[in-house]
């Protein structure tokens, strides 16, 4: 672990009762979901000015809190990076928003709502950002059907043409 990062991680470990893990030089901390806003506030004050990315992983059906939401922070002044991992259950998934701490979390949280259906309580404008507004479902969930249409070849061309919705003039 980086020399300058070790005291910061130690302090966060104490404050949130968690254990840091390190892989390939990337340090990650599991934060309880109700404390995420306070943890973000603290990490910002400790010099991580930038929320570089925010994403989620769906571990369905292998793990029980099926969603892990990841917050990746960068400190431009200290030249460090740090990751938070928050576990979110699959039934009615919800997290408090961190837009009050990092303004750019706005669109990231909209993307997570759009793709995974994770709600962010207190978000100023929680709409879909990538999919059309009237879309149903959340496509990056592992149980979302990928969708498949039978390809049209010479042998089944006429059969598929009958049911294919061709455009009118």
């Amino acid at each position: 672990m980086e020399e300058k990062l070790a005291p910061i991680v130690q302090r966060l470990e104490q404050d949130y009762g968690t254990q840091a893990s390190e892989q390939s030089g990337e340090v990650s901390l599991v934060i309880p979901s109700e404390k995420i806003v306070a943890a973000c506030q603290q990490v910002r004050e400790l010099g991580f000015e930038q929320l570089s990315t925010m994403t989620a992983v769906d571990y369905w059906p292998h793990e029980d809190p099926r969603f892990h939401v990841l917050y990746q922070f960068t400190s431009l002044s200290l030249h460090l990076s740090l990751r938070f991992r928050v576990m979110v259950p699959g039934v009615n998934p919800s997290l408090p928003t961190v837009t009050s701490v990092y303004r750019n979390a706005d669109w990231r949280e909209r993307e997570l709502w759009d793709m995974f259906g994770i709600k962010f309580a207190g978000h100023p404008d929680l709409r879909r950002i990538l999919m059309p507004a009237d879309w149903e479902g959340h496509p990056l969930r592992k149980d979302y059907p990928l969708g498949y249409e039978e390809p049209q070849f010479t042998f089944n061309f006429d059969q598929i043409s009958l049911r294919k919705p061709y455009a009118k003039e």
Binding site: P139, G147, Y148, E149, Q152, Y166
Partner: protein, 160 residues
Amino acid sequence: MGVEQKLGNMGVVTTTLEEVVNWSRNNAMWPMLFGLACCAIEMMSAQASHYDMSRFGMELMRASPRQSDLMIVAGRVTRKMAPVLRRLYDQMPDPKWVISMGDCASCGGVFNNYAVVQGVDEVVPVDVYVAGCPPRPEALIHGVITLYEKVRSEKIAHWK
């Protein structure tokens, strides 16, 4: 049929209305400047000096649907883009034609999933399909020439 070739030095040629109109439609077919994915790169290269579509009078890409006759759907059409594409088509004045360029636009290509329309003919009526992933500029030029042949043989009864 009247006299269709120049005779002597009379300075007069007669022909049919059908042929004159089809000829003029053919020789001033302006495509719309509109690309959706990697096929658009091939479309640009077809326009540029190496392949030079303007040899055939098809170089004048218009940035507005109001001024264009030909829509080249260059790339995969997502379900979110489909209404936009249809609106652009509706904004084009008649007569208008559509070339579906590449596998994705023609049938979904490798993107057989929920997000991509499986063939742009579900959204707009297509005249010529160009195969390839992406098609080479020669293939696109061949597609446009094929469309020209279609337009040249259109009958007066089917004009729009």
